[in-house]
Symmetry: C2
Subunit: 148 residues, 2 copies
DNA sequence: TTGTAATTGAGAGGCAATTGCAATTATATC
DNA sequence: GATATAATTGCAATTGCCTCTCAATTACAA
């Protein structure tokens, strides 16, 4: 079974790049979290392991991880980019609760198909898509009037 | 027929805010464009009318226009937020060509329905959603291999 | 072991967006 | 109309995310 490490190493090798301890630390940090993350979360996590590892390295490593297909960018919120790892996970879309921040992941095969259909209609070659629904989760909309 | 001006004025009044010449100028600037825009485009446009109108005012006005339902934020691209006006337009989704920047708008009723279905399933009260597909438009994918 | 090209941390810098402040101005009330 | 007052403005400084530069370091191949 291919691990994220293997996959990343292969990708780097193919590109003539190096599999450095720093990059491995970042990768491990990301895959030890099991949820969406932003740069700062990773920085704090990784900083415990290696006090010298800088934010710059994280910013430089993330695009490589995206390119290698291990993580993807998700929604951009509050001025910050946000990512999630996709290795071993299949594609899905998101609902984000604008009150409590809860994230619900879902996948609807029919929607995926319809998207492809639409693309075909416009002669559009889709590479990636992102569907995000903002609103209130069950708990936050319960009973009350919402006051957006 | 209610104009954007009317709607904005009503909204401001309701909130106890003022319908200033600056706000009207920004509004006019936005509605004189018939496409997606970012803050700078509006600034340049509006600046011709009123040399003193500052970026700060635009940044302060946009959230009011969003709140009043006249415009919406769309995708966040190249580190900048992007908006479009929705007054008189119906909801639609986007395809963005990552080569030439072309934007294709589309609306698929079935996708909209399925989204609502999914929300219901999770007890989620949706307020707004955004579907963006990135890829290559007809012209940019034509013949060539794409090399993302 | 050695050469070399990639990588690193640190800090400077870029840029979108926000904010504090003193002056200005729209609106309600007289 | 005139007046009071609370919102609004432009400006400039600032914040915060992210990128870049550069000299020193390091992984990897020969």
């Amino acid at each position: 079974m291919l691990t994220p490490q293997d996959k990343f190493r292969d990708y780097l090798k193919e590109k003539g790049l190096k599999f450095t301890p720093e990059r491995e630390t970042v990768l491990r940090g990301i895959f030890s979290l099991h949820k969406h993350f932003d740069v700062d979360e990773i920085y704090l996590k990784v900083h415990k392991k290696d006090k010298r590892l800088s934010r710059a390295t994280i910013y430089r490593t993330l695009p490589l991880l995206v390119e290698s297909g291990l993580i993807v960018e998700t929604f951009h919120c509050l001025g910050k980019g946000s990512y999630e790892h996709v290795f071993g996970h299949s594609h899905h879309d998101h609902m984000v609760c604008i009150k409590c921040g809860k994230i619900i992941e879902f996948r609807n095969e029919k929607i995926e198909e319809l998207q492809e259909e639409v693309c075909k209609k416009y002669g559009f070659k889709s590479i990636e898509h992102r569907l995000g629904i903002k609103g209130y989760c069950r708990k936050c909309s319960g009973g009350r009037k919402h006051n957006l």
